[in-house]
């Protein structure tokens, strides 16, 4: 597999705007790291991803009862908002 790193696509997916110099440096770093981890992608295993438990102790999920608890007040919820109005968080338009 090629280590050609499409930095523009990846930074878009990750929602991080990058400067040109940053792009070059990061592409270079990431290519080095990817080359190192390449050893893994060449391995073959007799199991599939769906068989792997995500919990390292291979624990199963315990569900929680449907009982309401109060946590944050309205004021606490908005206390860190960069901008808010009429009890809502305000952001620049999300529809272009």
């Amino acid at each position: 597999m090629s280590n050609q790193f499409d930095i523009d696509n990846v930074s878009k997916l990750a929602s991080i705007e990058l400067e040109e110099t940053e792009k070059n440096k990061l592409s270079q770093d990431l290519s080095i790291i990817l080359e190192h981890v390449q050893a893994i992608s060449n391995l073959e295993f007799d199991i599939s991803v769906d068989e792997v438990f995500i919990h390292p102790l291979e624990k199963q999920l315990n569900l929680q009862e449907d009982v309401v608890e109060e946590f944050l007040t309205h004021e606490e919820a908005l206390s860190n908002a960069p901008e808010s109005k009429d009890g809502k968080f305000i952001v620049p338009p999300s529809m272009e």
């Binding site: 929680q64 944050l72 009890g87 809502k88 952001v91």
Partner: protein, 481 residues
Amino acid sequence: MQYNPTIGIETHVELKTNSKMFCRCKVVDTEEPNVSLCPTCLGLPGALPVPNKKAIEFITLLALSTNCKITKQGMFHRKNYFYPDLPKNYQISQFDLPVGINGSLKIVLNDQEAEVAIERVHMEEDTGKSTHMGTGRIDSATSTALDFNRSGVPLVEIVTKPVLKTSLEAVAYIEELRQLVLDLGISEGKLEKGNLRFDANISVANSESDVLGTKVEIKNMNSLRSLERAIDYEIERQIKALNNGEIIAQETRHWDEGKEVTKPMRSKEGSADYRYFSDPDIPNMVLDEEFVNIIKSKMPKLPYQKRLELMQTGLSIGEANILSKSNDWIVKLFHDVYSTTKNSSSTYNWITGELQGQMRKVEINELPSWFKADSLSEIINLIESNKISFSSGKVILAALLVKNVTPYDVAKEQNLFQENDSEKILQIVKNVITENSEVVVRIKNGEDKLIGFLVGLIIKSSGGSINPSIAKDLLSKELEE
């Protein structure tokens, strides 16, 4: 050229739990913004999700009731995309191991039973709500306001295979699904509140081809009417485009309710690479046989089973379908009344027609506490046995809805019982003929409409209690002699 449309429907059903999917914040129905929040559903740093047991029970009920195969070893995945009303910028959802797969739902289409193949039933969380502010037009909004009360509310997504052919079939499917979630008690099922939200995938293909056409996804249909119109519009649009030699673009379109057209969406969501991966905050979910059996034991009667029972009384599938989608008390009333009248047709007509009509007139949604199924049975039986007239039945029913009386009392009090004794009626008929000899002559000279006048006199002279059809028969016989 002939084109065949193919439609698939994705429906989001909001579950009726007390608390949210991954935290214990109350599910609220309020205009007051940002009042039911915690670090988890607001996506604060350090917060973690813990799935709601009730929601998993609910989705398992839905999956079982649609004949899905239950995934024993399931898991939750993160679906990654950036959107301001998605607090974590990933949605906890399910990817390749959903709760249920490969099911089916029986629906009624054109008075026939049909089956819709279900591809998958999976669990996910809702997002917050965005309001675009500014000039009022989405295109020129100056800012977006966010309310996260809805963030984290449990949603089930139920996806059909691309098997539907018409907008009517899509509507019938949604109607059936809505009834199913109501009967299962897992959702409020209110379309106007967005408890059920649907997207349609539509393609058209040359009828001689085995290959499906290019799929177009239609969003933003919030009523059955807009679902029907949007599908019809989109099929038409695609056929027209193909006839003009155009290529259908694979895209997401938006139903414009006002203009009744579909328009391409310019949202960034379109071409996303969601980078699904198993959520490391949530261990694998095992739905073992024991759990599934407990859920099975809680399964209520399903809409198609209700239909079958109703059809066994002699109702048509159409009538049974309408009744099965009515409130529970109506179905129960039907069965109770039918058990004594044994007449499904008149029971059906009285319940769906007269009773519900009169209830609307007096503006009540529920039957008064004193109103018993036996009373309606009695009215129907009195009519069937000619003891009262059909219109007297209506009068009695109206009285029963406003005061605690029995049909017999009303009939007695208002003198609604009919005189069915031919001897007695004949005597009155003869009297009236004698007293109106001039009229009789005119009738014999061809003035048939005067017969009605004589019937009226006969009923009047009896004090209104004579069975009019008997009176009419006897009068005709007498006049012929």
